[in-house]
């Protein structure tokens, strides 16, 4: 049973090149529970991507802690975090697909190191592609897809392993309203399956909001809860 993700006094600073450092995240304290979608909004450059990357263990915080299921993940060494990341599905702001692989193969990528048979990986990936409505593109090269289709492919790749944690960074940026709604429903379904789902997006409309979301606004490195 997942007890969610907690961050405690989380700070991230980047060197600016002139000897100074820019604080992107400033002592963030928050708790993200399973079973609910957490939405993080904020202006461009607010640090949403950095926040998600730090939560997902893709980069380390400058100070503070990320605690997952009562384990301080941010203090773990690389190999331990790598193993933990198998429980996470990540949707990047830029799709980060392997363009010379097919759509199906891109979706299969998280399943390969798990020791499952190729046919199992294939069928699980086809199922994920079916959920995002890209089954007909399974054999196409990722490079041949449109921006929206690529975004759907990254969504399929993120959910294929039924992860306990989903980190989605601007997952609707290239999608029309209908597709955005579909993807939000998909994320909501996963949240209902007791997954921790954190979505960062800077331009969400009301009709896209899922049922009973937790909303935060990140601005100037500070995360504040928004009332619904």
């Amino acid at each position: 049973m997942s007890s969610g993700i907690t961050c405690h006094d989380l700070c991230v600073e980047f060197p600016m090149g002139n000897g100074n450092r820019r604080r992107v995240l400033d002592k963030i304290n928050a708790r993200f529970q399973p079973g609910k979608i957490t939405l993080i909004t904020g202006p461009v450059g607010a640090g949403k991507t950095t926040f998600l990357n730090t939560l997902a263990g893709l980069s380390r915080p400058t100070s503070g802690e990320v605690i997952v299921n009562d384990e301080t993940v941010s203090r773990w060494t690389g190999p331990h975090r790598e193993r933990w990341r198998r429980q996470a599905g990540i949707v990047f702001q830029h799709d980060h697909l392997l363009y010379d692989l097919t759509v199906l193969e891109n979706v299969m990528l998280p399943l390969i190191p798990l020791g499952r048979t190729l046919s199992t990986c294939r069928s699980q990936s086809m199922e994920a592609l079916n959920k995002v409505g890209l089954l007909h593109h399974a054999g196409s090269l990722a490079s041949s897809l449109s921006g929206g289709e690529r975004q759907k492919t990254t969504m399929a790749r993120a959910i294929v392993n039924q992860p306990a944690f989903i980190f989605a960074d601007e997952p609707f940026a290239h999608l029309d309203a209908k597709s955005s709604r579909q993807m939000m429903d998909l994320l909501y379904d996963h949240a209902c399956g007791n997954a921790v789902v954190i979505v960062a997006a800077h331009g969400l409309t009301l009709d896209m909001l899922p049922e009973n979301p937790l909303c935060y606004r990140l601005e100037n490195g500070v995360l504040n809860p928004l009332s619904s």
Binding site: A56, L58, P79, R85, F92, H96, L98, E105, L118
Partner: protein, 382 residues
């Protein structure tokens, strides 16, 4: 047969099939060249050593002012047999004559005085008018007869050929009846060209030389097996020096291959970052990279080594012997001991295959402690 990771590694190669194919071909050629350069001297060394082991302990010849002269068989054998330490003495009849395509060495086969090594190779002995020829002896237009020109010119019937594996020593050899041989080289009856003397132990070769020389009533000159081995090694040094020089471009080619593979692998750093973000551990990536490289390197190394074996031992590989040793006729056949072959395979693997495979691991090792986000960001920079 193959697990998912192996299939995935093979699929990954097919993302750039032409690049993988070209890399494989280049590696194959480099391994073949290096393998040939390592294999050839070892093959010559092994063949020489094996054959020299079956040569007599001491060769004794009668010397005079003009060089060497025939020696009376009965007297010479009697004197040599009386020297303490000598186990056996065999008179030998041999000389150089002209064949259809250059000089040949003729040997008169004395039925009861043959060396065991030679006796083991022969299924029958030549009668008068018959010859058994070495692997490299050309009979000219006729396959069944051989015309030889010494003191007189005579045509002989070819009844057999000596085994190919002995050809480093029997390459230009013509075995014939001893009386035929004497006639051809102008040797008087009951005279021999030299004596082949065997001693009980190798250490005694040098020890009994002074006694042996002193016991003969005429000046003699002796060559021991150890001296012959030294002479062979000395003659081969030139070839070995050439081989060493030829290794330099092969090693440069290896450096280039490693550099290309390292650069290619570094270009995949963002791919590896994406894989890590998708839950691949450093261990998974190491295994994946290992399979990926092995799919190219193993077949390339295997084909390359087979090619080098073919180049050294295969028929029609005369250019190699011609290039390194100056053998102009049909090249002598070389053979290799099992340990020699294994050593060459290990040397090629250590010199070629291991560095190439290792070069693919550089981005993995660099990425082991790097932030995954930083690795992925490289994609933007590409």
């Amino acid at each position: 047969m193959f697990n998912t990771m192996q299939i995935w590694a093979f699929r990954d190669l097919l993302r750039r099939p032409l690049e993988a194919l070209l890399f494989g071909i280049t590696l194959t050629v480099a391994v073949a060249i290096l393998g040939t350069l390592l294999l050839f001297p070892r093959a010559v060394h092994d063949t020489l050593n094996t054959l020299l082991k079956s040569t007599p302990s001491i060769i004794l010849r009668r010397a005079d002012a003009t060089g060497f002269s025939p020696m009376p068989v009965q007297t010479s054998v009697g004197v040599a047999e009386n020297v303490v330490g000598v186990v056996s003495v065999r008179p030998r009849i041999w000389g150089l004559v002209n064949g259809p395509q250059g000089q040949l060495t003729i040997v008169g086969v004395l039925k009861d005085k043959m060396s065991k090594a030679l006796a083991d190779q022969l299924t029958r002995l030549p009668d008068p008018g018959q010859v058994i020829i070495g692997f490299g002896v050309s009979t000219g237009l006729s396959a069944d007869t051989l015309q030889l020109e010494g003191v007189l010119s005579q045509t002989y019937q070819v009844i057999d050929r000596l085994p190919e594996k002995t050809s480093l020593f029997t390459h230009d050899l013509v075995l014939m009846d001893p009386d035929d041989a004497r006639q051809l080289i102008g040797l008087p009856k009951d005279y021999a060209s030299d004596l082949a003397i065997d001693v009980f132990h190798d250490n005694e070769q040098e020890a009994i030389l002074s006694d042996l020389i002193a016991s003969f009533p005429w000046p003699v000159k002796c060559v021991t097996r150890l001296q012959s081995q030294g002479l062979s090694a000395g003659r081969w040094n030139r070839g070995r020096a050439l081989v060493t020089i030829a290794v330099i471009p092969a090693v440069l080619a290896l450096c280039l291959l490693v550099a290309v593979n390292t650069r290619k692998s570094m270009g995949r750093r963002s791919d590896l970052g994406i894989m890590k973000a998708m839950g691949w551990t450093t261990g998974d990536i190491v295994v994946f990279q290992l399979y990926r490289e092995l799919f190219v390197c193993l077949p390339s190394a295997a084909v390359g080594i087979c090619l080098s074996f073919l180049l050294v031992y295969g028929p029609g590989a005369g250019w190699l012997a011609d290039f390194f040793l100056g053998w102009k006729t049909i090249p002598p056949s070389l053979y290799l001991e099992t340990t020699g072959a294994a050593t060459v395979v290990l040397e090629v693997t250590a010199l070629m295959v291991v560095p190439v495979i290792a070069s693919a691991f550089l981005p993995v090792l660099k990425g082991a402690t790097a932030d995954v986000h930083g690795m992925i960001q490289d994609a933007g920079g590409r």
